[in-house]
């Protein structure tokens, strides 16, 4: 395969999609109140839904779009007077810069496809053990086997897949034991990292977030978890520690997103806990926040285990990508 000269071809697809949407919002082509739905955007961008979901999450964080009482997202901020505009995005003639369009169509490098594969491989594990066949993954992504091997190597490095005795790539199963172990590790390392991070925490962002909890009823526990990680814990100067925390959380947060996609209600009770935690971080000695974080994680673990049991009633049919073969 000829490697593309387009520098954007190295970027993850979700970044490219986010870029297109951002520019179209700025240009007013996507007007305030327009309802953004994953499926139609994926059709326009000629990708799967996974990178679209990631792009929308990013725009939500940037507060360019918001959640509302309905499916999808609204462009802009929701106010009392907002009337959702429901039109097919395909009729809008979105501005898609040729470089980006070209990059979206280029399937040359592993970085380009990695994020969507990671999301699918992580979230399938609630359904049990899966084998990934290299050729099927290559066909699914429309990339060479060399690229697929790069993707698989990265997944292995991040602990999401392993090689079986027969040399097959295996993902999962995610068991209650795995979840407990991961939360136990979180309880040990995250409060420690928070303590190390104390002088470096982005306090302005924390204040900003606290204000948002008060004013934005659409804020999700997932956004709070991500913000806590980025503005506080990840500010610890020990990069190896931060990297370890990130990779330990990878599977847990991918599964959590998968559960919400499957219809589970988001874990709303934890918002109050995040509020307390952020308040402790911004206004009190860091030790109290570290203690609270430990407690919060042990409660979150119990809740997470309870939510895992629910998955047993969800039928497997159509719940995972075609290149994943149940074992």
């Amino acid at each position: 395969m000829i490697r593309s000269a387009n520098p954007l071809a190295q970027e993850p697809r979700y970044e490219l999609i986010a870029r297109v949407l951002r520019e179209n919002i700025a240009a007013g082509i996507l007007p305030e109140g327009f309802v953004l739905l994953e499926g139609p955007i994926a059709t326009v961008m000629q990708t799967s839904r996974v990178p679209v979901q990631a792009a929308l999450r990013q725009l939500l964080e940037e507060r360019l779009i918001s959640r509302f009482d309905g499916r999808g997202y609204l462009v802009g901020r929701v106010t009392a007077g907002t009337v959702p505009i429901r039109r097919d995005i395909r009729e809008l003639d979105l501005l898609i810069p040729p470089m980006v369009d070209d990059a979206l169509q280029t399937r040359g490098t592993w970085r380009h496809v990695y994020d969507e594969v990671e999301e699918e491989v992580a979230s399938c594990q609630i359904f049990g053990e899966f084998r990934i066949v290299e050729t099927e993954l290559a066909e699914h992504l429309g990339v060479s086997r060399t690229v697929v091997r790069d993707v698989l190597a990265r997944l292995q490095e991040r602990g999401l897949i392993r090689k079986s005795a027969a040399s097959h790539w295996i993902a999962g199963p995610l068991t209650a034991r795995t979840v407990s172990d991961k939360f136990e590790l979180r309880g040990i390392v995250e409060p420690a990292a928070l303590r190390l991070a104390a002088p470096h925490i982005r306090y302005a962002e924390v204040e900003d977030l606290l204000e948002r909890i008060e004013t934005d009823p659409a804020i999700t526990p997932q956004e709070m978890a991500d913000a806590l990680m980025e503005h506080c814990i990840a500010q610890a100067p020990n990069t190896a520690l931060v990297e370890m925390i990130r990779s330990n959380r990878l599977l847990l947060s991918a599964v959590d997103r998968a559960l919400i996609r499957l219809g589970l209600p988001p874990d709303e009770d934890t918002i109050e806990q995040y509020q307390t935690l952020l308040d402790l971080i911004s206004r009190h000695p860091i030790d109290s926040a570290c203690e609270y974080l430990r407690d919060h994680l042990s409660i979150t673990a119990r809740r997470y285990l309870a939510r895992m049991k629910i998955v047993a009633v969800i039928p497997e049919a159509g719940a995972f990508a075609p290149y994943l073969s149940p074992q």
Binding site: P265, D269, R302, K309, A312
Partner: protein, 411 residues
């Protein structure tokens, strides 16, 4: 629709829509005599939607708008409660609350009775801070405890013999004498434990905590079951009482999981297909009624009326006639004749033929219930139907096993 100027229309009597309460549940409690009496006593309509255990819990979790009251077992609260499908029940609104037995409130019929492993209902009863369920008393509960029983298995006395020596053991569910004539109930929180008890009783396996097995223990059990399946031990699985009765009637089974009402349905198999009182003890379950999260105002009031009606005696008597106990037996006793009470609750020989819930004779004069009186049976609970921590894993492994039993395949 009417025309504004047509004043005569207003004189017509208003069309009153009859109030309806929708109940989702299983064959355990959704019996026509219960519904008919409740309708008559409460003055509103009651619609039953009956499903098997697994479909019922899926429906309850994912479509709470489709029902008002959910009648199921405590063990599946782990699924339905944490889906956010239900709302708390205020015990201040339950007239019989103080008369509900210690089996559910404390975990055993007396201080010294065994508690049983796994999901004892007390562990799921009270709502705790943070939305968890637990045994620490609080004003709000997840499910109103109603019907319950101690389950065992049924066996062909022509194969295993009668009398007390040898005494029935869960090991019989994997016994060579019954090879090819063994069936299990297909429910991963129920039949799974029949199999697990059989594996322990037969000495094949030992679990550190049978009520919360590890992945390795689950794998070991599934491997044992698969080996037995390949050797041809199992002839089938079933999900409802009718299927269980058919298997016994057709002579297909020499031993199988059983539910109490099934014995009353047996005809040809009746003389030789016997309820076991296992030496190891019983696998128990506790049912109840919960409120859908969407209930408010008048419909919520109707749901509370229905819940209170459940504990007012009539339903408890109907349940007794199919071999199930109620959480406040004293009220049911008011609706049972002395011979019925003596047979079902006290373990006495039937003084005369006794009728089942729909009127036909299910117990012959002189018969005695296996295991004896209620309290004797309740003291011997070793495990409750349970949704373990590794339930998602176990349920999927169990499902694969069941499909192989049904297909008779080699893989």
């Amino acid at each position: 629709m009417y025309e504004a100027e047509d004043q005569t229309q207003l004189a017509a009597p208003p069309h009153v829509q009859r109030r309806v309460l929708r109940v989702l549940g299983t064959s355990i409690t959704l019996l026509p005599p219960v519904r008919d009496q409740a309708r008559a006593d409460l003055g509103f309509d009651i619609v039953f939607e009956e499903m098997d255990f697994l479909d019922c819990q899926r429906q309850a979790a994912m479509r709470p708008d489709g029902y008002d009251v959910y009648e199921q077992c405590f063990h599946n609260l782990d699924i339905v409660w944490f889906w956010g499908a239900l709302q708390p029940i205020d015990i201040a609104r339950i007239a019989e609350w103080d008369n509900i037995s210690d089996l559910v409130k404390l975990g055993g019929v007396s201080k010294y009775a065994g508690r049983g492993l796994g999901d004892a209902p007390v562990k799921k009863l009270y709502i705790q801070p943070g939305g968890f369920l637990g045994s620490k008393p609080s004003r709000h509960i997840s499910m109103l405890p109603t019907v319950h029983n101690m389950d065992s298995f049924g066996f062909d006395a022509r194969v295993f013999g009668t009398g007390t020596d040898p005494r029935p053991s869960w090991a019989w569910l994997l016994d060579r004498r019954a090879k090819g004539r063994i069936a299990l109930v297909d429910e991963p929180a129920i039949g799974f434990f029949d199999a697990a008890l059989a594996a322990e009783a037969s000495g094949e396996l030992e679990f550190a905590d049978i009520g919360n097995m590890t992945i390795d223990e689950i794998n070991a059990l599934m491997k044992l079951l698969e080996r037995k399946r390949v050797e041809g031990y199992f002839c089938g699985t079933w999900r409802g009482g009718e299927e269980a009765a058919s298997l016994a009637e057709a002579g297909s089974v020499a031993v199988q999981s059983m539910w109490s009402p099934v014995y009353g349905k047996l005809r040809a198999a009746r003389p030789h297909f016997i309820e076991a009182a296992p030496t190891e003890g019983y696998r128990a379950w506790h049912g109840g009624a919960s409120l859908s999260r969407h209930l408010r105002g008048a419909v919520l009031d109707m749901a509370y009326e229905y819940l209170n009606w459940w504990l007012s005696g009539f339903a408890g008597a109907v349940m007794a006639r199919q071999g199930y106990y109620i959480s406040n037996p004293a009220r049911a006793r008011d609706h049972l004749c002395p011979e019925e009470w003596a047979y079902w609750y006290e373990g006495a020989a039937a003084a005369r033929d006794l009728a089942g819930p729909t009127g036909e004779t299910t117990v012959k004069a002189g018969e005695r219930r296996a295991g004896g009186a209620y309290t004797d049976r309740a003291r011997k609970i070793v495990i409750w139907n349970t949704v373990m921590d590794e339930y998602n894993y176990a349920a999927r492994a169990w499902d694969r096993f069941v499909r192989r039993v049904q297909d008779g395949g080699e893989a």
